[in-house]
């Protein structure tokens, strides 16, 4: 039984039916799924959630499907780790890592949004799905669409190294390499999405797709013992994840699943692509698009679709924003690896680097609960660190040379 009422424009509030629509035909504002919270409140309890399998569908009443889920059945419910070594390194009292670098099946938080997008696409009767991506999204759409038996088109810029798309190609999608710069790829894909009747996950399925990110926030609260933390640091690319984590926590509060909500949310970006952080620091209302130049490719979105909503989230919660250089990103990746044994991709380096900076600045107090969002796996972006982590010590196969070469 569905708890989704329909879609609603985030700008003018006009309502729309549950269809593959993504933009308000009046003001061109983005559409968002709205729910019947009264009915959800009567059904969804902590006990019911806890009785369900450990995946993102344990919160299914708060996800925008009409029927049962059909994709991503094992995605989500990733570990929330108490990071005791990192606490010592940063001099803080209570720090957690929400670790989506181990999200199933393709090791990033995109498995959450794609699980919801493809389930919804199937519900709408689409037999073809598509996305434009240089990394995590491509991997997830290719893999999950393969499982679902959907035809899958993945668009990439032609100059992207093939090595980077192995994680998508292995699932045998139709991989289209578009010649042209990033802007031209963007423009072409939005045109293709209007011409072909496909489920383009982050275009015409976007209002549904984006809702999957809420589960990241739900899980944090549930795993903390049905409590919201005081501080969450979130990486920002298009700005959707940060707004949806906040939406998720507000829903939990409204449904009585958590008692208090005093969480401050912080936006993290790389200095080489920081349109959201810049707007927050300058107290601007408008996001100025930028040309990305950073090793954090998964966050390199110069014109963030949900930038203004990310900004609003930070303001509403009383959080802040910060950016880190490429060197700081690498240092943070290494710090997380040597303290907690987690190898994150560059986006995780951005989040932890920003968390460290905000703690040092005194923006985040050292004695309150902090959650650092780790959203992807370092094995996918090894080129970012390969020259900066030393080399193996080569020895001849005898004890003498071993003892001579290796300090013990």
């Amino acid at each position: 039984m569905s708890y989704v009422k329909g879609l609603k424009c985030r700008e003018c509030g006009r309502e729309y039916p549950k269809e593959p629509l993504y933009v308000c035909e009046y003001c061109f504002g983005p559409l968002e799924a709205v729910y019947d919270y009264e009915r959800i409140k009567k059904k969804l309890t902590k006990e019911l959630i806890e009785s369900r399998p450990e995946n993102l569908w344990r919160y299914k009443e708060l996800l925008p499907l009409d029927g049962e889920q059909t994709c991503g059945l094992n995605s989500g419910f990733t570990p929330l780790i108490r990071a005791r070594n990192l606490e010592k390194a940063l001099g803080v009292k209570e720090l957690y890592i929400k670790d989506d670098s181990v999200c199933h099946p393709t090791l990033s938080f995109k498995d959450r949004v794609v699980s919801v997008a493809l389930s919804k696409a199937k519900e709408f009767g689409f037999n073809t799905v598509a996305c434009a991506s240089t990394g995590n999204l491509a991997n997830s759409v290719a893999a999950q669409a393969a499982v679902a038996g959907l035809k899958r088109y993945i668009f990439i810029p032609a100059n992207l190294e093939l090595g980077k798309v192995v994680g998508a190609l292995i699932y045998n999608p139709i991989l289209v390499a578009v010649e042209g710069n990033y802007d031209q790829v963007n423009r072409l894909c939005s045109e293709i999405a209007t011409i072909y009747k496909w489920a383009f996950v982050n275009i015409n399925i976007r209002p549904y797709y984006a809702e999957g990110s809420k589960t990241y926030g739900y899980e944090i609260a549930e795993q903390l013992g049905w409590k919201a933390p005081k501080h969450i640091i979130v990486p920002c690319a298009g700005g959707s994840l940060i707004t949806k984590i906040w939406k998720g926590l507000k829903e939990f509060k409204a449904l009585g699943l958590i008692d208090r909500l005093q969480t401050k949310i912080y936006a993290a970006q790389a200095t080489g692509c920081s349109p959201i952080v810049t707007a927050i620091k300058e107290n601007a209302e408008i996001i100025k698009p930028v040309k990305p130049n950073t090793i954090a490719k998964s966050l390199a979105i110069g014109n963030p679709a949900d930038g203004v909503y990310a900004l609003a989230t930070v303001k509403e919660t009383g959080g802040w924003a910060e950016d880190v250089s490429d060197d700081e990103i690498v240092e943070a990746i290494k710090l997380l690896a040597v303290t907690e044994g987690i190898f994150t991709e560059t986006a995780g380096g951005v989040t932890l680097g920003v968390a460290k900076k905000l703690i040092e600045q005194g923006r985040i107090p050292k004695d309150e609960s902090i959650v650092v969002s780790i959203t992807g796996n370092g094995l996918k972006t090894q080129e970012a660190v390969v020259e900066k982590i030393g080399k193996p010590i080569k020895i001849k196969p005898n004890i003498a040379h071993f003892e001579e070469s290796v300090k013990i």
Binding site: E11, Y22, V23, Y26, C27, F28, G29, P30, K110, C131, A132, S133, T134, G135, N136, L137, F155, I156, P157, Y182, V185, N186, R187, C189, S190, A193, F200, N202, I203, R206, A237, G238, A284, E285, I286, K288, P289, S298, I301, G302, N303, P304, A305, D306, G307
Partner: protein
């Protein structure tokens, strides 16, 4: 007649200039403004442009030459 939904971002020095009007007149493009927001340092306008495909493309290039950022309303979709 083709239609395009676009998001324009104006730098401060262009806020007071009739850039959209000039483009519309020059290339016979019909602008239909849906939303706008102007602050001290930057302006943004969300609008629909109608015209022939060629003229829409010429109009876009003209705006970009003036230093207006012309973006799809859905933002960057290559994630």
């Amino acid at each position: 007649m083709a239609k395009k939904m676009v998001h324009l971002v104006f730098p401060q020095r262009l806020i007071k200039k009739p850039v959209i009007y000039t483009m519309a007149k020059k290339y016979n493009v019909i602008p239909n403004i849906r939303r706008a927001n102007i602050t001290e340092t930057v302006g943004e306008v969300t609008l629909e442009l109608s015209g022939t495909k060629e003229n829409l493309e010429k109009g876009r290039k003209y705006l970009e030459r003036q230093d207006v950022k012309v973006e799809p309303i859905i933002g960057d979709i290559v994630e």
